[in-house]
């Protein structure tokens, strides 16, 4: 093959250009720490990288949903526990009130105590979290329980809420209802307010037979609330489990993302060194060739 002068100079330029391109690419990987800086760097991986980012983003949202679900469940559970304590006290009082050793005036004193319990139960039913009434179903902006008063005593309680359940997605396809609508506190037979109001009325009426009956009703209401609270406890266990699953998944996905996206530093540095050596050698050999004597230098 005949080699001409322009041929050599053209080769110098294109060879150096190739070396520079390689150096630039490795340098970009090292300085960004990313093996994939644009889609064309790895079209086979970019789809997975974007899908992983979507998944990680979703997990962050699910984690935040778990947090707000927990807040709601915990507040509900606290309120329910206070309610069951109240009912438990009232039930003990009812057993006591049914006892024949008590006089009518003793029962009237008990009735005052129950009146206070009714007030307390009302305020528990109207518990607010972040300005929202948690027992109102979907009606979170209005007091769910309002009292009908006769003088200073409550003679009836009206429920203004609905039976709406608030779904919360805590993991993909995993939907949990985070609220207990007030309607389940006033179900027929286990209506906590009616149980207390009737009890108080019977105490005032000094009707021991009815009081004995009330003790049973209060027990039923107590059982019903305890069941609801147990259910909440179960849900809290579930959110805790989901939360740790989400954290684990997040760690795994972030690891995969890093393995797809991030540059392997030792390899990149080695390649960089290698490429730099190639470039240096090319420069040396080219400069030698360029300073080479030609026939024209020798001919005199």
């Amino acid at each position: 093959m005949r080699v001409t002068n322009s041929y050599m100079y053209d080769s110098f330029i294109s060879d150096l250009q190739n070396n520079m391109q390689q150096l630039d690419k490795i340098n970009q990987q090292i300085s960004t720490g990313l093996a994939v800086n644009k889609p064309s760097d790895a079209p086979d991986k970019i789809g997975s990288i974007i899908s992983l980012r979507d998944s990680i983003n979703n997990i962050t949202q699910y984690q935040s949903n778990v947090g707000s679900t927990n807040d709601y469940l915990n507040s509900t559970s606290t309120a329910l526990t206070s309610m069951t304590n109240l009912l438990s006290t009232a039930q003990t009082l009812a057993v006591q009130g049914a006892n024949d050793t008590n006089s009518a005036s003793d029962r009237a004193t008990m009735a005052t105590q129950v009146d206070n319990q009714i007030q307390e139960m009302l305020s528990l039913g109207n518990t607010q979290v972040n300005g929202q009434y948690i027992f109102g179903g979907y009606q979170t902006t209005a007091q769910p329980f309002t009292a009908t008063m006769t003088g200073t005593s409550v003679t009836g309680v009206t429920y203004n809420g609905d039976s709406g359940l608030m779904p919360e997605e805590i993991n993909q396809g995993d939907i949990i209802n985070k609220n207990v609508p007030g309607s389940s506190l006033i179900a027929a037979g286990t209506d906590v307010y009616n149980a207390l109001i009737n009890f108080r009325n019977d105490l005032n009426n000094n009707d021991t037979a009815a009081i004995t009956n009330d003790a049973g009703t209060l027990q039923n209401a107590y059982n019903s609330l305890t069941n609801i609270n147990t259910d909440i406890g179960g849900k809290l266990q579930r959110t805790t489990a989901v939360s740790s699953t989400l954290t684990n998944t997040n760690t795994t996905l972030t690891g995969i993302q890093s393995s797809l996206e991030d540059v392997d530093m030792p390899t990149a540095m080695t390649n960089f060194q290698l490429q730099q050596n190639v470039y240096q050698s090319a420069l040396t050999s080219i400069s030698t060739l360029m300073q080479q004597t030609t026939l024209a230098d020798i001919l005199r």
Binding site: R2, S6, P39, S40, M166, P167, T294
Partner: protein, 469 residues
């Protein structure tokens, strides 16, 4: 008998020929770096011997040589290699136009970093989920409006960028058409000069180089077939349609297609036939615009449409904050990715976001949850992909298109470099070679001068003998 002065004449022819060859060498050295210059060689042949055979010729021992003449100046031209170079140019520059454009498109997507459409889409669905958690909070609703605007901005920015690229491409096509026309008329001019010079019996090496340079330039703009007509003319055709004929050109012009985003397309000015190319910058530009960018745009449009349809139907059947009747309004306005916007009624009143699935239920976020869940619905690609998956495959498509253009560029560049080197090897000037020739012709010139001196001395002897002084 040859003339007494015959020897002098031979020496003179020798001097002239060596000096002419020396000139060719000088020209080669001078043009060693001229692009497209083909190395020239002086062809020396002997002149007609003496005597001519005839019936009454003076008989001598044999035919006597009469010297040398430079009969022709050849060039080391390889037309087949030249044709390969023009084809290589066409492939390379077509692909290069696509590669440059796609690397721009890639930067528009800004993946795998943010902000990007994918990122904005994620934020949008997260914001919907937050609204479903806390439907009564106006701040959370406002955040949904903000992320929605960020998303529609991403869509419209992408569209503007792609539209700007189209405009740029259309401008470049017009420039290419002008350049093609200019090159065509230059080739036509050189064709005529070569035709005249050949008719007068000249060799036309430098004109051929000029024409080849013009053809090389043309090949970077469009592919073509060149046919040597044998009379000095080179006919240039593109897909069978004449661009440069014998003493005429058919210039290109452009037409604008209003049905296709005002695309500018090249046509022949004589019959309006569209220019059909398979190579060159103009081919790359058209491919980039009509295949790549148009494809990406329609994918983005489908994405925007799926997004609008899925969210709008839930929005219009759902209930705003504490509303007794369904909103009956859309969440998004628009028809495609270019004009998708959030309904201004919602921007003005965030309570209109239909988070609730039941009337007058401020705590109901189940409809917002349903909207957020459309993220996982297989709405696209014939019910096989979610919007997010469809976006990921679009980015992956852009990436692989761009990568294959980059890989092709490496291949075509190395093919081109090889052909160039081969051309340099066959047709380029080697300075060492020319120095050798220079010395060779110099010695021959000196020898011829010596012959002349000796002839002169012989004649002196003869003249002095006749007329002694």
């Amino acid at each position: 008998m040859p003339s007494t002065f015959f020897g002098l004449e031979i020496a003179l022819r020798g001097l002239t020929a060596q000096s002419a060859a020396q000139d060719v060498v000088s020209n080669n050295i001078a043009n060693a770096n001229t692009p497209g210059y083909t190395k020239q060689v002086a062809q020396m042949t002997t002149t007609l011997p003496y005597p001519d055979p005839s019936a009454n010729a003076a008989m001598i021992a044999g035919q006597l040589g009469t010297g040398v003449v430079v009969s022709q100046i050849d060039s080391a031209r390889d037309q087949m290699l030249n044709n390969q170079i023009t084809q290589g140019n066409s492939q390379q520059s077509s692909n290069s136009a696509v590669m440059t454009g796609l690397s721009q498109v890639e930067s528009f997507f800004n993946e795998p970093t943010s902000p990007s459409i994918g990122d904005a889409l994620n934020n949008f669905y997260s914001a919907l989920s937050s609204v479903s958690s806390d439907p009564g909070d106006i701040g959370v609703r406002q955040n949904l409006i903000d992320t929605t605007q960020a998303l529609t901005d991403q869509f419209s920015t992408m569209n503007t960028n792609l539209d700007n690229m189209d405009t740029q491409i259309n401008g470049n096509i017009k420039t290419d058409v002008n350049s093609i026309n200019s090159l065509a008329s230059q080739i036509n001019g050189v064709n005529y000069q070569i035709y005249k010079a050949q008719n007068m019996g000249y060799t036309t090496n430098d004109l051929l180089d000029t024409r080849q340079n013009l053809m090389n330039s043309l090949s970077k703009l469009t592919n073509f077939q060149a046919t040597d007509m044998g009379n000095g003319y080179m006919k240039i055709e593109i897909n069978g349609h004449t661009l440069v004929g014998q003493n005429y050109t058919v210039p290109l012009t452009t037409v604008t297609d209003p049905a296709n985003n005002n695309a500018v397309n090249p046509v022949f000015s004589d019959d309006g036939a569209p220019l059909v190319t398979t190579g060159g910058d103009i081919n790359g530009l058209i491919t980039l615009r009509d295949t790549n960018i148009a494809g990406y745009r329609s994918s983005l449009d489908s994405m925007a449409q799926s997004l609008m349809t899925s969210v709008n139907s839930l929005q219009s059947s759902g209930y705003g904050l504490n509303d007794a009747a369904p909103t009956g309004i859309n969440f998004f306005n628009g028809t495609d990715s270019a004009d998708i916007t959030i309904n201004p009624a919602i921007t003005a009143d965030p309570t209109l976001i239909a988070a609730a699935a039941s009337p007058s239920s401020p705590g109901d976020g189940s409809n917002a949850l349903a909207m957020a869940d459309t993220q996982n619905s297989l709405l696209m690609a014939g019910g096989t992909q979610t919007i997010g998956e469809n976006y990921a495959s679009l980015v992956s498509q852009v990436g692989s298109d761009s990568q294959s253009a980059q890989n092709n560029d490496q291949i075509y560049t190395s093919v081109s470099t090889n052909l160039q080197q081969q051309w340099q090897s066959e047709s380029g000037v080697s300075l060492d070679e020319e120095m050798t020739n220079l010395v060779q012709y110099q010695h021959a010139f000196e020898a011829n001068s010596k012959v002349m001196v000796v002839q002169d001395q012989m004649l002196q002897t003869l003249i002095n003998m006749i007329n002694p002084s």
